[in-house]
């Protein structure tokens, strides 16, 4: 085996200096070797599910605090739920990285509007947002709702308004979305299921 001069000196230097320090009874620091303490020791554990693919892996979400009033629960770690019969504690790279999805710098935090022709977002209140959106919806619906078709059949539909529903939402959200959409007479809606 070829050994460069540099490697040779490295090794010599290393061994001797270390050894010498110890031989002289001199230790630069207490040099303890305790392992890093287990960071989840008293974290709160909540059962949840990975929101990515349809394996729907069980996950355990670890949050700080014990749910006491003043301790804000902050998600610090997510790992697989060993009890889940499908994933049995495992996760894929997407699931293993869920913490960074929850903590993404690109999470939306408040309602915003971009006005016609504008080049920027403007922060608005929830009240404002809901009022402005529903005004648009009502104006559109009142102008374009079809009660009867040409043949005189009652059709009660509103098809100038569309909705793409999330396939990552809970069943309960999906159900309520459908119920509301039909209640309004909407027909132009779809979900990601076909894409």
């Amino acid at each position: 085996m070829q050994v460069s001069r540099r490697q040779f000196f490295k090794i010599c230097g290393a061994g001797l200096s270390g050894s010498s320090i110890a031989l002289m009874g001199f230790s630069p620091a207490p040099a303890l070797a305790e392992v890093r303490s287990f960071k989840l020791a008293r974290a709160t554990e909540t059962r949840n599910m990975c929101p990515y693919c349809s394996v729907s892996c069980g996950v355990l979400i670890y949050t700080t605090g014990d749910k006491s009033k003043n301790a804000k629960a902050d998600i610090i770690h997510i790992e697989g739920d060993p009890d889940n019969p499908v994933n049995r504690g495992t996760l894929c790279p997407k699931g293993a990285g869920l913490l960074d999805m929850v903590k993404s710098p690109n999470r939306l935090k408040y309602p915003e509007v971009r006005e016609a022709g504008s080049n920027e977002w403007k922060r608005i209140s929830w009240d404002d947002a809901i009022t402005r959106i529903t005004k648009h919806m009502k104006a559109d619906r009142d102008a374009n709702f079809v009660e009867k078709n040409a043949a005189g059949t009652t059709v009660n539909r509103w098809n100038t308004f569309g909705f793409l529903a999330s396939s990552a939402a809970n069943n309960e959200t999906g159900y309520l979305t459908h119920k509301i959409l039909r209640g309004l007479g909407a027909v132009a809606f779809e979900t990601q299921a076909r894409i």
Binding site: I61, L108, K109, L164
Partner: protein, 808 residues
């Protein structure tokens, strides 16, 4: 999935085709590895690319993207001509014996009844011969030339190994090897499972890709068996659940269908949807349609839905045409829409032809994006240099962006691909002012109601009459909603056989959809979810993972629809007499006067084998359909070329240009014109996911951005050499609709294929990148894809189209 994730471990042979389970569903794929380790199962991967699934496969066969039906049709021909089928199963559990209308024809690539102008079929000849009682005629010997078995044999006799190899590019020996392996599972005690995903659905004949494999599984007797079935590996965590809730214009929850303009009243509507049995003694379970529909109307309209007003039938909107995603964007592009909401959906990135989608969005008056993240769609109006070159000042759409919560910040249920509904619990609040989805929806809806109550407006009746029984109206609780979805007795539900017996007391939750009524005495928001929250409580929150059978059924973990059944068609796992085909993997058996076993029977529990009640209870025939008139593009799957094909003709029908691509697929004006031709765009492109990313979400997650940071495209060594492209070079990929630029990954894993005497190269295009995120900005791959979908489901043809490539 007809089966479920853990059940994959019960297979003897696993086929991964039209999907890439190792990358898209790694944690489900563990059960493939388990089958290999513990059952000595074999894994076969058929794919244009040597994927990470192929990396652990026992056998890999390459195929040209878009040629799956040719391959699988060839398998059918192999099985039939070599007589490698499960005879008893095919004879009794499929419609192989059924006689078909003698006028049914298939000529030069086109089935009888074609209308070239409308690009659709009149299906009157695609029908059974009926006897005087209205039952389908059968020939038990299967010799009649018009019986399904003979017609099928004839149809697929054209799919010779030579022609298959010529069309698919799969070497003949590789094709035959796969046939051989599949054929082994014709033995009653051997099963094959198929794991597919968007690699089959995203074609202009996507539904038929899947049907071809279904035919194979029926011929081999693998449906209803542990370790068998047809297993669609779905995309999102709750895409199955949202599909079940049917967020489709054309459907109502539980796969009921929307009324259309011809359904003038409830009676007409129900008559068309309530089938009559096509064979004696069959369960014909869909005969219960009126109960499901009426209970839904009661859930939505409560006391306002009565027998006096047709149970508020007219309050439901009636559709006047297609409202699938492509149709919606076509309407938007034509300027026929004013408002649009994207809830957790990023269409600018996920719909074909980004330019068209962006132009369409710019025609809206208002766009509302409800999302936890800054999606590309929410900034379609903003100039992001080369990745989104638009002029904001010219776009008049008012865009709202509303922050909603992620999974970790909400409680509720998800339904996995195996139909298991599981409850999850909130761990922490969302950031800033973000809200739960249902709160956002409720606030929009309640505000609208308030405006209509105050100012009046068009047809407020349905809106005002919608039940809203939530204790905090602005914050419907997930528990309240799942209870409503499950349904309850509105008045006492009586035993039809003994009217003095009360089955469920008024106000109580229903335990099964068998208790639903069409007289207004029950409500149920989604009949297939009935039982998920019974009187005993939330069954989706059950967390007992015990597995006494060892088959992985875990019947007390969550709740599977329907009625907690884990494997659909499980009656077919036993022979006519009720004896399991494979006693080691017993799902059901007939014993002691009832069906017992390791699953909830997919059969009337007391239906004695002598009664001849067949396993496919949702079909009026009671049996599986080898011949399926319900399909839009033919009762037997047939190979058609993708709309953008590298060939100038369909080698199966070289003389009929009408049969080059799917004759029944819908193509909009303007889109046909931007289909590319092989002379300008010689390479087959296919888009796909990588294991490190999830769609356009994880580009926002640093951990995922680190392990796959930058957009790339994959090409084979041979093409790279021809084009002077080296690994790491920047390349430009063009289609008829636009271009993208990305880094080239040159690999041995994509090979040039010999197709119809021509060398065909594949260009692999991972999606995942865009102009918003913490990963490196990239081009939206759907800039390139064509705006055409499957004839049945309208799923866009993302998997097979044409491009050209050059060094950038």
């Amino acid at each position: 999935m007809t089966n479920h994730w853990v059940d994959i471990k019960n297979a003897d042979l696993v086929i991964v085709m039209g999907g890439n389970a190792a990358e898209a569903h790694p944690c489900g794929f563990k059960w493939v590895i388990e089958a290999k380790k513990e059952r000595k199962a074999k894994l076969v991967v058929v794919d244009p690319r040597f994927t990470r699934s192929a990396a652990v496969a026992d056998y890999y066969a390459p195929i040209r993207s878009g040629a799956d039906i040719a391959f699988l049709g060839g398998v059918i021909n192999y099985l039939l001509s070599k007589d490698k089928i499960h005879h008893e199963y095919v004879k009794h559990y499929s419609n192989a014996t059924f006689l078909i209308n003698p006028d049914f024809k298939f000529e030069d690539g086109i089935f009888s009844g074609y209308n070239a102008e409308k690009r659709n079929y009149a299906k009157d000849t695609w029908s059974y011969q009926l006897d005087k009682d209205g039952y389908a005629k059968v020939d038990e010997t299967m010799q009649d030339p018009n019986c399904v078995f003979q017609l099928m044999k004839k149809h697929y006799s054209r799919y010779t190994p030579e022609l298959v190899s010529k069309v698919t590019g799969t070497p003949k020996d590789a094709f035959l090897k796969v046939c051989e392996m599949m054929a082994e599972t014709a033995a009653p005690n051997k099963t094959m499972t198929i794991l597919y995903a968007l690699g089959w659905t995203e074609h202009s004949k996507g539904s038929q890709n899947i049907r071809t494999m279904a035919l194979i599984q029926i011929l081999l007797g693998n449906m209803g068996m542990a370790g068998g079935g047809i297993n669609a590996l779905r995309g999102h965590a709750n895409v199955q659940g949202i599909t079940d809730m049917c967020l489709f214009g054309a459907n109502l929850p539980g796969y009921l269908t929307s009324p259309n303009e011809a359904d003038v009243d409830r009676k007409t509507y129900l008559e068309k949807r309530t089938p009559k049995a096509l064979r004696p003694n069959q369960m014909n379970f869909a005969q219960n349609y009126p109960k499901w529909f009426t209970s839904l109307q009661k859930a939505w309209y409560g006391n306002a839905a009565t027998d006096k007003n047709d149970y508020a039938f007219d309050w439901l909107p009636k559709i006047d045409g297609a409202y699938d995603t492509l149709a919606i964007f076509e309407r938007m592009h034509q300027g026929k829409m004013n408002g649009f909401v994207c809830q957790g959906y990023n269409p600018l990135a996920s719909i074909p032809n980004k330019k068209k989608v962006g132009d369409a969005l710019a025609k809206l008056k208002y766009l509302v994006v409800i999302d936890p993240l800054t999606t590309d769609t929410s900034e379609f109006w903003k100039n992001h240099a080369e990745f989104n070159e638009v002029d904001s000042s010219k776009i008049q759409t008012e865009v709202f962006r509303l922050p909603c919560n992620l999974f970790a910040e909400d409680t509720g249920s998800f339904t996995n691909s195996g139909r298991v509904i599981q409850w999850h619990w909130k761990a922490a609040d969302g950031p800033g002012e973000s809200k739960r989805d249902v709160e956002i929806l409720a606030s929009l809806f309640l505000k609208l109601k308030e405006m209509y109550a105050k100012d009046g407006g068009k047809f407020p009746d349905a809106m005002m009459g919608l039940t809203w029984p939530y204790r905090i109206p602005g914050k419907p609780a997930p528990e309240e909603l799942l209870m409503e979805i499950n349904g309850k007795a509105l008045t006492d539900v009586l035993d039809p056989k003994d009217k003095t017996k009360v089955l469920v007391k008024a106000g109580e939750q229903l335990g099964t959809f068998g208790l639903l009524r069409d007289d207004g005495s029950t409500s149920c928001g989604n009949w297939i979810y009935c039982g998920s929250w019974s009187q005993g409580g939330n069954n989706t929150a059950k967390r007992d993972n015990s597995d006494p059978s060892g088959l992985g059924q875990t019947l007390n973990w969550g709740y599977a629809w329907p009625v907690n059944r884990r494997i659909i068609y499980n009656r077919a796992s036993a022979d006519l007499a009720g004896k399991p085909w494979d006693a080691k993997r017993t799902l059901l058996k007939w014993a002691g006067g009832k069906w017992v076993g390791n699953d909830v029977p997919d059969m009337r529990p007391d239906a004695a084998p002598e009664e001849g009640v067949m396993p496919f209870i949702m079909n009026p025939e009671g049996v599986a359909r080898l011949f399926a008139p319900a399909m839009a593009d033919g009762p037997f799957p047939e190979h058609y070329e993708p709309f953008e094909t590298p060939l100038d003709k369909n080698p199966f029908h070289p003389n009929n240009p009408k049969a080059t691509s799917n004759p029944a697929a819908r193509v909009y004006k303007g889109d046909m014109e931007v289909f590319g031709k092989a002379k300008d765009f010689p390479y087959v492109a296919t888009t796909y996911r990588l294991v490190e990313h999830f769609h356009y979400w994880t580009k926002h997650s640093k951990l995922n951005a680190v392990v796959q940071p930058e957009q790339f495209v994959e090409i084979g060594e041979e093409l790279a050499k021809e084009k002077g492209i080296a690994s790491g070079d920047k390349v430009k990929v063009r289609s008829m609709r636009g271009f993208i630029k990305a880094v080239a990954v040159v690999t041995k894993r994509i090979k040039a294929l010999d197709v119809d005497g021509k060398k065909v190269h594949t260009v692999g295009l991972p999606n995942h990148w865009g102009f918003k995120g913490v990963a490196k900005s990239g081009y939206i791959v759907n800039t390139l894809t064509p705006f055409v979908g499957d004839a049945n489901a309208q799923t866009p043809e993302f998997k097979a189209f044409l491009v050209n490539i050059e060094k950038a």
